[in-house]
């Protein structure tokens, strides 16, 4: 009678202490990881890619019906606006044809002048298309998970685009998944050119829909409406990818409204810059 009682008398508080110790250890581990996260620890990033890879097939299966539903909603909306849209498209088509003629003309002229100058052309960009399968939608990070990884030629640093403009850049790749950091994320830094003067600056995300510019030459006059494009500094992005327009300039504060329609993201084009490919059709401008 005596023995089990004394065992219980020692074991119960011991168990409670062990529980408390485990709790403290886990909290301390989480806190340490939190402090380390700015250091870009390789192990954490590799784990993240492995986890992304593991959930990619599941997310792909889950996101498929959602894509279908989105498609049906789009279809219904389009049916409703068919006539007006048709007219708008016809007008736009006419305008674009004029632009195409102008572009071909300029391209020919550009080629002639480049030949005159013995200009070294940029390497042509190859691109990989990938579907968005994951969007955490958290309040603190802006990133997307895509269904193509290193197996399809996706690499860290590649630019992610839609037809409208830049979305962000690839920050991690797994075998069959990759992660894109949006240009609005607080960790995003993209070297850009602003306005017709092509002033250099860095586009910095701040988790709001409109990122701002940093390192602008103080003597430079910026105006709302100025175009912002990638500068290609650093050699990772091609030069001249469209990003957005300056929406506000006031006493040193700037805001850039990206061209991308965030509600309509579905498929992204990842620009693989620096790989020369010979079979690219010959036309300037985004394809």
């Amino acid at each position: 009678m005596q023995r089990p009682l004394s065992v219980a008398r020692i074991a119960t508080p011991l168990k409670a202490w062990a529980g408390r110790l485990a709790f403290a250890a886990l909290v301390a581990t989480a806190f340490t990881l939190m402090l380390l996260s700015k250091a870009d620890v390789a192990v954490i990033e590799r784990t993240r890619s492995a986890v992304d890879d593991a959930v990619a097939p599941l997310l792909e299966a889950l996101s498929r019906p959602v894509t279908t539903v989105n498609g049906i909603i789009d279809y219904a909306e389009e049916m409703a606006a068919l006539r007006a849209q048709n007219e708008a498209l016809r007008a736009e088509n006419e305008r674009l044809l004029a632009w195409q003629a102008r572009a071909l003309e300029l391209q020919a002229e550009n080629r002639r002048l480049s030949a005159l100058l013995n200009f070294v052309p940029d390497p042509e960009a190859r691109s990989v298309s990938a579907r968005i399968i994951g969007d955490q939608g958290g309040a603190f990070a802006r990133s997307l998970l895509l269904n193509a990884g290193s197996a399809k030629g996706v690499n860290r640093g590649q630019a992610a685009m839609t037809g409208n403009g830049l979305v962000g850049r690839v920050v991690g790749t797994g075998e069959r998944s990759s992660r894109v950091l949006l240009l609005t994320d607080i960790n995003s830094r993209i070297p850009v050119l602003v306005g017709e003067q092509r002033n250099r600056a860095v586009l910095v995300g701040d988790n709001t829909p409109e990122p701002h510019l940093l390192y602008v030459d103080p003597d430079v006059q910026l105006a709302a409406g100025d175009y912002v494009v990638t500068s290609g500094d650093g050699g990772i992005f091609p030069n001249g990818l469209p990003i957005g327009r300056l929406s506000a300039v006031a006493d040193g504060k700037t805001a850039v409204r990206p061209f991308v329609n965030w509600d309509r993201l579905e498929i992204l084009r990842l620009i693989d810059y620096g790989f020369v490919r010979d079979s690219e059709p010959d036309l300037i401008g985004p394809r």
């Binding site: 485990a22 989480a30 402090l35 959602v66 939608g137």
Partner: protein
């Protein structure tokens, strides 16, 4: 012999149920739904799960499971690893200490308590994110996420109650 094996599987499934639900919630929370305006900030589903099971069946959601789920969710968020895990663990600790005062109350009262917990958790997450990022963040997204989480609580809690009633009654 056969029956006992089945019973064992049965017991294990019950034990794993909250964890499995959490995995499903993490994945479902990531599916890119394009309802205009709703995309940027979604509710913190894992917080609801941790609160609910810590109040009702803490034995089925041990701290190491919360740690693992928190890490997984942090990794998949694409942001810093640690803030979410850290917050969930502390919230679990606090709620577990107070659970016997929460359990006897009605659903509405439990929801109100959850609202307070969610505000506390979101503030803690907000601060830890700033520590992790070494940057000052805007308050609005965090506040909005807290509201979304509080608003969706009844839906998820209802699913959890159903799960509990149909699978875990006699476990």
């Amino acid at each position: 012999m056969f029956l006992t094996a089945l019973q064992k599987i049965d017991r294990w499934t019950r034990m794993l149920l909250p964890g499995l639900l959490a995995l499903i919630l993490i994945l479902v929370g990531m599916v890119p739904i394009r309802l205009a305006g709703l995309t940027p900030i979604s509710p913190w589903l894992l917080l609801i799960l941790v609160y609910f099971w810590t109040v009702h069946r803490p034995d089925l959601l041990p701290i190491w499971a919360i740690f693992g789920l928190g890490l997984l969710s942090d990794l998949l968020s694409g942001g810093p690893v640690g803030p979410g895990t850290f917050t969930l663990l502390l919230i679990h600790g606090a709620v577990k200490a107070q659970r016997r005062y929460i359990i006897p109350h009605s659903f509405i009262v439990q929801w109100i308590v959850f609202a307070l917990v969610a505000i506390l958790a979101e503030s803690l997450l907000f601060l830890s994110q700033m520590v992790a990022l070494r940057a000052v963040l805007a308050v609005e997204p965090a506040a909005f996420q807290a509201l979304m989480t509080i608003a969706i609580y009844p839906c998820l809690a209802w699913i959890f109650v159903l799960t509990q009633n149909s699978f875990l009654k006699q476990a």
